[in-house]
Amino acid sequence: MSLTNIAVEQLSKTFGRTTVLQDVDFEIDAGDMVALIGPSGSGKSTLLRLMVGLTRANREQRSRVTIMDRAVQQRGKLTRCSRAERCRVGYIFQQYNLVGRLSVLTNVLIGHLGSMPRGRALLGRFNRQERLRALEALSRVGLESLAGQRANTLSGGQMQRVAIARALVQDADIILADEPIASLDPRSAREVMKILQRINEEDGRTVLVTLHQVEYAREFCRRAIALKQGRLYYDDSIQHLTDARLQALYDDEGLCELFDRRPQQPDTITQPAAAGAAL
């Protein structure tokens, strides 16, 4: 297995006329815990959705998302991935996206669907071993006692933990979490972040989490990637994310202080302009 887990190359996305992401590039190493930060509307959620193939990028020549050496999408087209390949990435949503009328246990068992034989998956016949693994995942997030309850009777924090348990059952090597704590109270938020941290440290799973509370990023993550107005603004260790940089990130001003590690070659700057002119 290569050390690079996730590679995002030249990713752009426009919805109608608004550009949400422009030429975003970065790589994430296996086992890292990375915070994706930026003001609202900076394209964080879109970036995450692109990475898992829920949304397609613009059709640009070099745009590509690679996860564990397999392209998820290329030039704005989703590559055909087998179910086994797709279940290596777990995804956690801000709004949990559980199936409210199913029990907590069934919601966690859904994590098995990608890896179990098709016939059993279609009938929803989970075997004993799968049930045990689901219960184990539930106990890791501290919710084994609620297994039989309907998912829509839980609190937000509990639902988010169920969603994490689903990703654990899926045995994903990479966990992408889109604002997992944005709709939670501070205590549940901390709990969810701790669980994500444990998953990262104990299992060595790569975690990329979008956050808009920077304190959480500083406390739980090793590296930060920041987006501002759809462009990569910062990509470095979390310690180097100084208060001054943060202030500039959340400022309304333009992209004066662009990401400093980026090579300042003229062609990288003229290229987007040329593309714009060609359109």
Partner: protein, 261 residues
């Protein structure tokens, strides 16, 4: 200034209101003529009607057993007609939902369902009597086709009103498209689907009572024959059987429905 503009506005609104009433009255008059409404006839023919009403009584229960058996056949027709319709309406409704399939799938599917729905059960029954012969099977097929059209529309409306979130939640686990529908979508729409199906079952029992008039089985045959033979006391018994059966099944079905909402 303000009060004058206010009174101007209320003036305008009053005129619009008057115009609205005028349009409604016009439409009603127009329909009155088309429908040849003659309430006078009700008064003029009172004697006639009293005699007819008198003919209904006393009810004759000699053939009651036969009528009950026929009513059971009617219910059986409704059961199978509805069940087949539900089974076929599920895939048809998924294929006519715009949040699941591209337009070149849902447009033709919707038009096909429109066609099934546009034609009354009774007309289908007459056609099926020709195709498969007299008897309850023709009636079952007629209910099946018509109800499929109705249920597919109602089912797909429920599908289009669902949230995309749970389906995405299932998709990102690596599950296939069909698992996504089974686990992410169906649980969301199931209560409504069940409720709508039971409601259609109730109305199919009512529809099935007339299928026999065109030879498609059930109690309609007896109803038609007794009426044509002027045996109104028999007709009254049949109507009583129908009322009791429909009321009972409506009550049962309502109780079941309540549990799913």
């Amino acid at each position: 200034m303000q009060s004058s503009s206010l009174s101007l506005a209320s003036h305008k609104r009053r005129w619009l209101k008057l115009l609205g009433w005028g349009v409604i009255l016009g439409a009603l008059t127009w329909a009155w003529q088309g429908a040849e409404m003659q309430p006078g006839l009700l008064v003029k023919n009172t004697d006639n009607m009293v005699q007819l009403a008198g003919d209904f009584f006393p009810l004759r229960f000699g053939n009651l057993k036969h009528y009950i058996a026929q009513m059971l056949v009617t219910v059986q027709i409704a059961i199978w007609g509805t069940l087949l319709a539900v089974v076929f309406a599920i895939p048809c409704s998924l294929l006519s939902s715009e949040n699941l399939v591209p337009w070149w799938v849902y447009q033709p599917m919707r038009r096909l369902m429109d066609a099934c729905r546009a034609i009354n059960e009774l007309v289908f029954a007459m056609l099926f009597v020709v195709a498969v012969g007299l008897g309850p099977f023709a009636g079952t097929l007629a209910l099946f086709i018509h109800t499929t059209g109705v249920l597919a529309k109602l089912f797909s409306e429920a599908v289009e009103a669902t949230e995309a979130g749970p389906m995405e939640g299932v998709r990102v686990t690596g599950a296939g498209r069909i698992e996504e529908i089974i686990f992410g979508l169906i649980p969301q729409v199931l209560p409504l689907w069940i409720s709508v199906s039971l409601y259609r079952f109730e109305s199919n029992i009512r529809s099935a009572t007339v299928l026999g008039m065109v030879g498609a089985g059930g109690i309609g045959v007896s109803l038609w024959e007794t009426m044509r033979g002027f045996q109104y006391s028999e007709t009254a018994t049949i109507m009583l059987v129908i009322i009791v059966a429909v009321t009972l099944l409506d009550m049962v079905s309502q109780q079941v429905r309540k549990r799913f909402i």
